[in-house]
């Protein structure tokens, strides 16, 4: 997508993203994947909405719920899924796993520690300033991550040095079982930008077009040298916190309603039809193509070998050490 993606493009991307995560989830069911796999089903509008704004030179630092961000940043699907499946052909040869994704070529990394993504993104923004480039740094966190000290320290430093940083908050209403509105004091996340004299805005992250426009504005602001932008995108976590989470702390009715009214893919689909930009047939084809693509991808990954055990002992240091 070199020209600006259309809504149909974004719909296709979101559909592929969801299908990608379906084949991630399959690994839990099949026993291939251990640990806590965090999916972003329901949050595709945000990842897909960044595409077209992000440039190859931009850096992104994400969280435990990062697969869609990786896709948005251009990380190739095979090594991505292979890493999630802890295969030798994975991004990190299976040593990082699904919460620790690194792709230096596509300028993407993650951390499993909440809040810790933000200072790392700050470092990329500082580097961009040092280099005099127009690269942007995007640091992603959830609503829960805004309660960490790292959120405060990052925004303050980005603001005093006017660094090209977008702090993107995916507010999916919950940090595991804890509702955002019970643990975030004051007028809300976006409003906290004012404390740092920063650009701040809340947008509906289930509306991929609205989000895209807001993200473009945030990115322009940050790239312009005017300091950081804090963009809060509302969305919903359709699944448990991780695959296997019983999710007993949310009422079934509220969950059903959230899926019915807050699905970014359904919203885009309705809008495409309403606007006459696509019909059911095209949309159905997109869905089945995506499913097929990901089924093939999964098959390829499953066929790929696990890492050689000797790899367990290297990469602690650049060269072995006693």
């Amino acid at each position: 997508m070199t020209s600006a993606p259309t809504l149909l493009d974004r719909h296709r991307l979101m559909t592929r993203m969801r299908a990608f995560e379906a084949v991630c989830a399959a690994g839990v069911a099949s026993g291939d994947l251990r640990g806590e796999l965090h999916l972003a089903t329901g949050q595709e509008g945000i990842a897909a909405g960044m595409v077209g704004v992000l440039r190859p030179g931009d850096w992104m630092v994400s969280t435990h719920r990062s697969h869609l961000h990786a896709i948005a940043k251009g990380v190739p699907l095979f090594p991505l899924l292979a890493e999630i499946y802890e295969r030798a052909a994975g991004l990190a040869g299976g040593k990082g796993g699904h919460v620790h994704l690194f792709d230096m070529e596509h300028r993407f990394s993650t951390t499993g520690i909440v809040g810790s993504s933000l200072p790392v993104a700050l470092g990329h923004a500082y580097a961009a300033r040092l280099e005099g480039s127009s690269d942007l740094a995007v640091g992603i966190t959830g609503d829960g991550g805004t309660n960490t000290g790292q959120f405060h320290e990052t925004l303050n430093m980005a603001a005093i040095w006017r660094l090209p940083l977008v702090v993107l908050v995916e507010n999916n209403d919950y940090a595991i079982s804890v509702p955002a509105d019970e643990v975030i004091a004051g007028p809300g996340i976006a409003a906290r930008a004012a404390a740092y004299g920063a650009w701040g805005r809340r947008v509906d992250g289930t509306d991929v077009e609205a989000f895209n426009a807001a993200f473009a504005e945030a990115a322009d602001h940050a790239r312009s040298g005017a300091g950081p932008a804090l963009l809060e995108a509302s969305c919903h976590r359709f699944r448990g916190h991780y695959e296997g989470d019983l999710d007993h702390y949310r009422a079934k009715r509220a969950r059903d309603e959230m899926v019915a009214s807050g699905d970014p893919i359904a919203k885009a689909l309705d809008r495409l039809i309403e606007r006459g930009e696509a019909d059911r047939q095209i949309l159905d084809a997109i869905e089945s193509e995506a499913a097929e693509e990901m089924t093939d991808l999964l098959a390829a990954v499953r066929a790929a070998p696990a890492p050689d055990v000797a790899r367990a002992f290297d990469d602690v240091f650049a060269a072995p050490v006693r």
Binding site: R34, G35, G97, V99, S177, V178, H248, P307, R311
Partner: protein, 337 residues
């Protein structure tokens, strides 16, 4: 307290805290998801309903803030239990743990106690480098902290009660592998009385007597070491297994007493190999017995690498039953039968 017949260790931990909250009205529990949902691992189920949000507090993701809050609560006369979810997250709040909680009694000349229990999950169950550590060696290095890591249901209950009752800070490390394991599936300590009891901190247990080799270990590695000992028994090697139970206080006397009989020490540790528990225990044993008493010693621990994600790799860095057995065999060979 009475548990379901099929109860697992996470339920046992919740029931243990329930007894403590009931017994001492100055006790309270703080942490992410400990309240309404009953804990990410279910280890505080029911407590929120019974004791309400002020004594069972769901916190924001602000570990430094709520760990420091525990310091103020303790100064005010309360006895906080702080849940950190994964012990790996202690890097976010070590400052309050080691510069305040661990040192306040000393820095105040004994005026102030810090009866704080920090509960956290440790150990490996396939969640890679940032969620699989045990870190007890790191924590034990810092004076002023007691460090506890039980191996079996009886001890989970008794050591946790003792930790909460203790007037000093305790880091209580629960093995993730234990949470969902039914109590009755444990090879030892599967009989858990309903009533409250404590297991004293600082007393190791000889969980399997033997005469050829002493294996000193703790937490889930006790179970693996027992399995290895069973295998070796069939080969004519009689292994004594010592469950250390607590890293601080470290009951080296029991280990030394055992090695005085066997002459050989293997330390099995799920923490990193160097600069931690295994070296310390080897050193203390040598210091106690001298070159005449310690014929051979070996360590089996995570070989100074972060924990890899892939199971194939994890399996070779975490001591397995086979690796424990192999280490015993070669120790027996080296340091003559």
């Amino acid at each position: 307290m009475s548990l379901r017949a099929n109860a697992n260790v996470s339920e046992l931990i919740a029931a243990t805290m329930e007894l403590e909250l009931a017994r001492d009205p100055r006790t309270l529990l703080l942490g992410e998801d400990v309240g309404y949902s009953g804990g990410t691992f279910g280890a505080s189920r029911r407590l929120f309903r019974e004791y309400g949000e002020w004594r069972v507090r769901d916190t924001p993701i602000s570990e430094m803030g709520f760990t420091g809050m525990a310091v103020g609560l303790a100064l005010s006369g309360w006895r906080p239990i702080v849940e950190l979810m994964f012990v790996d997250f202690i890097g976010v709040c070590l400052e309050q743990v080691y510069n305040a909680i661990a040192k306040n009694r000393y820095m105040s000349g004994g005026m102030v106690g810090m009866p704080i229990t920090i509960r956290a999950a440790g150990g490996c169950i396939g969640v890679a480098a940032q969620h699989s550590q045990t870190l007890w060696g790191m924590l034990a290095h810092l004076p002023g902290l007691k460090v506890v890591a039980p191996s079996n249901p009886y001890d989970y209950k008794g050591l946790l009660a003792a930790s909460i009752e203790d007037d000093d800070p305790v880091v209580f490390i629960e093995h993730k592998d234990a949470y969902l394991r039914p109590i009755r599936a444990f090879p030892l300590g599967a009989e858990v009385p309903d009533e409250r009891y404590t297991v004293a901190l600082g007393q190791a247990a000889i969980v399997r007597p033997g005469s050829d080799i002493t294996v000193a270990t703790l937490s889930t590695m006790v179970v693996r070491s027992l399995a290895a000992a069973d295998t070796l028994a069939g080969e004519g090697l009689d292994v004594e297994v010592v469950d250390l139970r607590t890293v601080v206080p470290l009951d080296h006397d029991t280990v030394v007493g055992s090695v005085a009989r066997t002459g050989r020490l293997l330390v099995v540790d799920e923490d990193y190999h160097s600069f931690g528990l295994s070296g310390e225990l080897l050193a203390r044993t040598f210091e106690a017995l001298g070159p005449g008493g310690l014929r051979g010693a070996r360590r089996l621990a995570v070989p100074d690498v972060p924990i890899p994600a892939a199971k194939s790799l994890e399996d070779v860095v975490i001591p397995s039953v086979a690796a424990i057995a192999a280490a015993c065999r070669s120790l027996a060979l080296d340091a003559g039968r």
